[in-house]
């Protein structure tokens, strides 16, 4: 279905350096989350659920896994005849030679031929590393109704935190009259979510001009939006209410996982009308052994649990041995918690094997501990 000719472009080039070892071999949008998902499943599923059929994914850094992950577009039903998920890395061209993407706007600017080819009428710009559910079709309706040149999704944030965000100052019709990047004295609490709908014809002009501007940083927030405002273009703020999380740090990734233990959480992954689709793993159901004790946990297929799991999230194929204790912890795919081991307030990275009886993490720690293969080999085994 190509009802509205809106093409989504997901910016997925982020290195996510504050996630340390989790992004050493994997781009941030491919980081695991919530038991069975990867972060980029959220924008991709939102696209599928919003009747968008063509999605470009702009990748750059360490993208082999991410590229082959998103290329299996049938996971999100995005394999319709005219649709698809298209990986768009930087590439060589006849005219311009070869270079990395210089910024968010340049990433789109270098792919105008793709947007032309897909006959885009509107372009939806998304980030590959946010966790939320949003109906972009409604946002497009808003964009069309308000005859805007660009529509920006905004979230109300507490005013005292507003200075950490790009803030939109609007008139009473939610038309944007001013944009301030991390203002010291914010005039409003409407923060940009980095989600934009542009009417493509206009955007193309601005991007072509921006490509040639040597002083530009080629960024939507810093260059394109201000240019639109300078030219008195119509910019609409589209208000979003609901769960939204940018998981930039180990602590915020852990928190976002812990949110799922709350059966009232706003993200509500149980909702059958807005499913988050992901890779179909060939794993068996969960085997809960005879010594298992499970107190408030979020557990997915392929896990084999024979110990205590409390206030924790277990990802695909995790094994928890007899007498092990996993508390306040996120255990990523394929990790093994040995017999009698005790893990508290940690994120255990993929495929890490915690030896029997090892004790790791601290119930009173300020920060969440990231447990990697290195950690395990460094820390001694403490028998308790």
């Amino acid at each position: 279905m190509r009802n509205n000719n809106m093409v989504a472009m997901i910016l997925a080039g982020g290195r996510g350096t504050r996630l340390f070892d989790l992004t050493k071999k994997v781009a941030k949008p491919a980081v695991h989350y919530g038991g069975k998902y990867r972060i980029i499943d959220f924008p991709l599923s939102n696209c599928a659920n919003s009747d968008i059929s063509v999605v470009g994914v702009l990748t750059q850094y360490e993208s082999v896994l991410l590229n082959s992950y998103v290329a299996r577009d049938h996971h999100w039903g995005l394999n319709s005849k005219d649709g698809g998920v298209f990986v768009l890395p930087p590439r060589e061209k006849d005219e311009t030679g070869f270079g990395l993407y210089r910024g968010t706007a340049d990433a789109i600017g270098q792919n105008l031929d793709f947007l032309d080819q897909e006959e885009a009428e509107y372009v939806l710009i998304l980030s590959g590393d946010h966790i939320y559910k949003m109906n972009y079709a409604k946002m497009l309706n808003d964009h069309i109704k308000s005859k805007a040149d660009a529509t920006i999704a905004v979230l109300e944030v507490p005013l005292k935190e507003a200075s950490r965000f790009g803030i939109m100052n609007c008139d009473k019709n939610d038309l944007i009259i001013e944009f301030e990047e991390k203002p010291k004295k914010p005039k409003s609490n409407l923060a940009s979510m980095g989600i934009y709908i542009f009417t493509y014809k206009t955007l193309k002009k601005y991007l072509l001009a921006d490509e040639k501007n040597p002083d530009s940083s080629h960024d939507f927030g810093k260059d394109i939006i201000p240019n639109y405002l300078n030219d008195n273009r119509v910019l609409k703020a589209h208000r979003f209410v609901g769960y939204w999380k940018d998981v930039g740090t180990i602590d915020s990734l852990w928190e976002a996982n812990m949110d799922l233990l709350n059966n009232q959480n706003e993200l509500n992954l149980f909702d059958p009308s807005w499913k988050i689709y992901t890779e179909d793993t060939n794993t068996a159901p969960q085997f809960i052994g005879e010594h298992a004790k499970i107190k408030r946990a979020y557990i997915t297929q392929g896990c084999i649990v024979d110990g205590l799991v409390q206030d924790s999230v277990l990802f695909t194929d995790v094994k928890v041995g007899e007498d092990a204790k996993v508390v306040d912890t996120v255990v990523m795919n394929g990790a093994i918690i040995g017999k009698g081991a005790k893990v508290t307030r940690c994120i255990v990275a993929e495929n890490v094997k915690i030896p029997d009886h090892m004790v790791i993490g601290d119930a009173n720690s300020e920060n969440i501990e990231l447990v990697t293969k290195n950690t395990v080999s460094k820390v001694g085994v403490k028998d308790v």
Partner: protein, 370 residues
């Protein structure tokens, strides 16, 4: 690459999972939380490199067609095909509704296959096998038909009404008899036959000409003297799901990892239709042990020795023990159920206590509200 056409046959009149098969063929019955029974055989076939498969069913094709078409059995979508076939003409009497009549009315599709061999197997036998091994052995030996069997010491309790196969010292099949539970140790036929396509077509025609009541297994049994039929022993775990107690017993066995691990191997994925359910939330109050749990469940009650299907909700104070709960069922607050099979979308709410027996577990019907 297994150079054979896969044929999934349907079980004879002795295969009837009471109650459950009113709603779908045995092949389509939900199993182990997230599968349908047929997934195990189809995965055996596709993992063995068989990409052209015909699935024959007797009636009620819809649930099976939807399942098979919407599952991803990992075959090339242009070259491969899983074709669900059934008699389109009305069969006036159930007694004539057998595998031979299905094969006869779809002979055009069998003849069209360009594979020299066929592997015929029913879906109600659940096990893990690489058909390449069987086919290679068959070709090496050069016999007419190779039949897969399992040796059991539990023929008194299990495989009731399945075929006992008698094999001579030369590994040749000499005769078949029904297992009526009289003897402990027996060789049981898995009703899986490997032969050339040419011979298969010949046998089907012969059966049809011999009697309009003949099943394929009847003509096989009759041919023991004329044809060189050899046994191939399968050594792994086998469940024969031909009745409600057998279904229940297999579920109870396989919820234990020491049995299940024989079916679930890393390099032998069991393909099925994904439902895109989220993980399961074990909420405050949950207590779960010795069980299989599928994804998408919300558990606040107690679960012991049970198989819990996808998207099942178990409310506070409920105790589910020795049960098989099928997808989308709802077990209400303070309900205590033991030794029950609760079918899809059933709601157990007002009845606060249900207790079945091993020989006859209580069956709660699909979409029932009790």
């Amino acid at each position: 690459m297994c150079n054979a056409l896969g044929i999934v046959s349907f079980g004879d009149t002795n295969v009837d999972v009471l109650g459950m098969s009113n709603y779908r063929p045995v092949a389509a019955i939900n199993f182990l939380g997230r599968y349908r029974i047929i997934d195990f055989l189809l995965s055996n076939m596709t993992n063995s490199g068989i990409s052209n498969i015909q699935v024959y069913i007797k009636n009620k094709p819809r649930s099976l067609i939807d399942h098979v078409k919407e599952s991803n059995f990992n075959i090339n979508s242009k070259r491969g095909k899983i074709h669900v076939l059934y008699g389109e003409s009305q069969i006036t009497q159930e007694i004539y509704n057998h595998d031979i009549s299905s094969y006869m009315s779809n002979m055009e599709f069998i003849e069209r296959s360009n594979k020299p061999y066929v592997i015929v197997a029913p879906s109600h036998m659940v096990y893990r096998i690489d058909f390449n091994d069987v086919l290679n052995k068959h070709i090496e030996t050069g016999n007419d038909i190779t039949l897969i069997y399992t040796s059991t010491d539990h023929a008194k309790e299990e495989f009731f009404m399945a075929d006992i196969v008698n094999i001579d010292s030369g590994n040749r099949v000499t005769s078949f008899v029904k297992n009526r539970g009289k003897y402990k140790s027996r060789n049981i036929s898995l009703e899986c036959y490997v032969m050339s396509k040419r011979l298969f077509i010949e046998m089907v025609n012969k059966a049809a000409n011999t009697s309009s009541l003949y099943w394929f297994k009847d003509i096989i049994a009759e041919s023991c003297d004329d044809l060189d039929i050899r046994g191939y022993q399968h050594k792994g775990y086998v469940a024969c799901i031909n009745s409600l107690p057998a279904y229940y017993r297999a579920s109870m066995e396989l919820r234990q990892y020491q049995y299940a691990k024989d079916l679930f191997k890393q390099d032998w994925p069991i393909h099925t239709k994904t439902n895109d359910s989220c993980p399961t939330l074990y909420d405050n109050g949950a207590s779960v042990s010795n069980s299989i749990v599928a994804n998408g469940c919300q558990i606040e009650g107690t679960v012991i020795n049970s198989v819990i299907g996808r998207n099942v909700i178990i409310k506070k104070g409920a105790i589910v023990e020795n049960c098989v709960i099928l997808p989308n069922a709802y077990i209400g607050e303070d309900t205590k159920i033991n030794t029950c099979v609760v079918d899809r979308e059933a709601i157990v709410h007002h009845v606060k206590k249900l207790q079945g027996t091993l020989e006859s577990p209580i069956y709660v019907k699909r979409r029932d509200r009790i």
